[in-house]
Amino acid sequence: MCIANSVCGNAFRGLAECEDEMALAENEAELYKIKLMAPVFDKRDKLIEKIPFFWNIALTQHSDFSNYVRASDFKYIEAIKKIVVKPLALEDEECTARDFQITIEFNEIKGDLKAQHVSKVFKIEKDVSKILIKKNRTAEDDELDADLGFLTSEPVNIDWPKSYDNINPELISDKSTPEGKKNYRTGMKTFFAWFKWTGLKPGKEFPNGDALANLFNEELYPYCVKYYTEAQRDVMDESDGDSEDDSDAPLDLDLEEVNDEEGSDSKHLNKKTKLQ
């Protein structure tokens, strides 16, 4: 135990070093895991391609995915034939374990959507000076982003469906009329607008593009089979433990406790939740 201040000071400096070493070790462990998983994911990708509407079923099942796209997009989600998320570190040693590429392949919808596959790369950036629109950002946002890094991406081209012509930002010429503005903004919220997302123009591009990319990387791709089988359940109305909200939780009081205990400092009530 340190009493002299300098002893403690050294301990704190040592702890800071440990934190750095832990971060390095975490990244190395992540890279190891990425390499270990890669062949299994490859094998899985090929099997998934054989199952009709796999991605539509898996994405529709995920409770959050629909929060990021417009309801009308589901017509085109249904046309998704293949989704692959690849960590960049697999091919480029320079990349961290947090950089990845998402490839999405669409089937043709006759007269509406072209068959195509599009790849989009996402990288962690720490240089906040690259963020072009600073409006609504605080100095603290900058500090946090500079420390933890933030997701960015190069815009990529995708052919929009014909049915979206009126909201396709590239086809809207009258961006100054209220109608034109409205259509432009509606278009910017579709799944197709996400492919142009950069992470550098907050408020001026597809909203929460980073969160959607992370959702693919951390949940939709790795656990897609789980979501798919959930969607195929025979019993449809079962709640999912964790994902359940608390509003049905029982009044979490110990009956006997309430009835027996007098003036104790017992705190055994579920604090997280309000009662019911």
């Binding site: 417009r70 609504n136 409205k182 509606t186 109305d237 400092d265 009530l269 009662l275």
Partner: protein, 430 residues
């Protein structure tokens, strides 16, 4: 009678509206009041509580403009053929200010409450998802506890339909749901809390300068008028109607009740018979109810089993969340419902197949940002498209039939939506 029939007389004549009428699957839940030990049998499961959520939204000119959320609880006491209670808890009601037409929101709200009061108890009790479902027999059933590997094994032996969905095993309703006999005698209660808030259901709608936010005092009077009308129209004259303003003097509370149409309004609440009753066993707790935090506090104080109803209201008022706001009130009705009784048509109400789907649908409305009109438009379009794609249905069209409201368009307000940032799009709050 459909919701359309109820609501049309509250909507301005000749104008077309659309309604979204959602309901959750009725499910057994834990009691909303803490069960008293003496009243219990060995298992403590004498009281069955059945909970059903309703969510109704009104759209005009392709925008969501108003929404109301009501939770219906049935409390069945199986021990001694005890009283059956039906409680309508009006949990949230909100406008967003994006309707270009003047609406009588009070009448709309009243008509929706009246519609839900008229839904026959059998509708809620016929097929209830039990608290604990008995184990389903049959190894080939895919359910929550089926591992992913096992589910895949089962799927490998099933044919897929044209959308890639496997043929599900048909499980008889009686294996999944329980039904309760429709009681002959029911005590019907209506309960709501009033407190002025910038927004209840439409996030950031208070930033819309056209949204009219009532003060706590006006809000109380507004609700009181609605509930007063409901009691007069749908309840017998022995019905108890109560108003409580935590921490306020009885004389002041009585003042609010001077002009009511119903004669038997009293100061107090519908939950207790005497102010000396122990609060824990009397005062119910609803979803997201701040009273829960107060009970929490009483538990750590070790006073939970001692505090009576009178002290409860007094101390509750002293809590920060009640002190800071303006007038907060608790309005209640308890008595015999004598109004109409309807069996809703299948086409009238949309009942999603799971609580999760119910929440997801609702989230298309409540998860939007309403600082600009865009939120109201997005919510409308998304619900319309989801109804079409996943529910093969449409919103219900209603033509207004209410002659009294002036139907002039509001004067255009000079450019309100010049904001050119894209609003956050239903991002789940973490």
């Amino acid at each position: 009678m459909s919701l359309e029939c109820y609501i049309k007389d509250a909507l301005p004549f000749g104008h077309e509206f659309e309604i979204i009428n959602l309901q959750s699957i009725p499910r057994e839940t834990s009691p909303i009041t803490f069960p008293k030990r003496e009243a219990e049998d060995v298992n403590g499961k004498t009281v069955k509580t059945i909970k059903t959520q309703h969510f109704v939204a009104l759209c005009f000119e392709e925008k969501v403009v108003f929404a109301l959320e009501i939770v219906v609880y049935f409390s069945l006491n199986s021990a001694n053929n005890g009283p059956v209670e039906r409680l309508l808890f009006v949990s949230k009601a909100d406008t967003n200010g994006y309707c270009d037409l003047r609406l009588d929101i009070g009448q709309i709200t009243k008509s929706i409450i009246a519609y839900i009061l008229a839904i026959s108890p059998g509708h809620y009790l016929r097929a209830v998802k039990p608290l604990i479902r008995k184990a389903l027999s049959g190894a080939k059933i895919i359910k929550r506890s089926t591992s992913v590997q096992r589910a895949l094994e089962i799927l490998s032996n099933r044919p897929l339909d044209s959308k890639g969905i496997t043929s599900r095993v048909k499980i008889p309703d009686q294996d999944l749901y329980v039904s309760f006999p429709v009681p002959t005698e029911i005590v019907t209660k209506v309960s709501l809390f009033t407190r002025a808030e910038p927004q209840y259901l439409f996030s950031n709608s208070s930033k819309n300068p056209r949204k009219h936010v009532l003060s706590g005092d006006k809000l109380l009077k507004w609700w009181l008028k609605i509930v007063d009308q409901i009691v007069v129209e749908d309840f017998d004259n022995k019905t108890k109607a109560t108003l409580q303003i935590p921490g306020e003097e009885k004389r002041v509370i009585s003042n609010y009740l001077r002009n009511t149409a119903y004669q038997n309004w009293t100061v107090g609440d519908i939950f207790s018979e005497s102010p000396q009753d122990i609060a824990l066993y009397r005062i119910p707790l609803f979803p997201d109810d701040p009273k829960g935090r107060f009970l929490d506090h009483l538990i750590s104080d070790g006073r939970i089993s001692k505090v009576n109803v009178l002290t409860f209201w007094t101390e509750l008022q002293a809590r920060q969340e009640f002190r800071l706001g303006s007038t907060v009130s608790v309005i209640g009705v308890s008595g015999k419902y004598i109004g109409r009784c309807n069996e809703p048509e299948r086409t009238d109400i949309i009942i999603p197949t799971s609580k999760k789907n119910f929440k997801n649908l609702k989230n298309y409305i409540t998860g939007e940002e309403y600082d600009t009109e865009e939120g109201a438009e997005e919510a409308y379009m998304n619900i319309r498209d989801i109804f079409d794609m996943h529910y093969s249905t449409k919103m219900i069209k209603v033509i207004g039939n209410h002659h009294k409201i002036a139907t002039t368009k509001r004067p255009e307000i000079n450019t309100i939506n010049v904001i050119n940032t894209l609003s956050v799009h239903r991002k789940p709050k973490s």
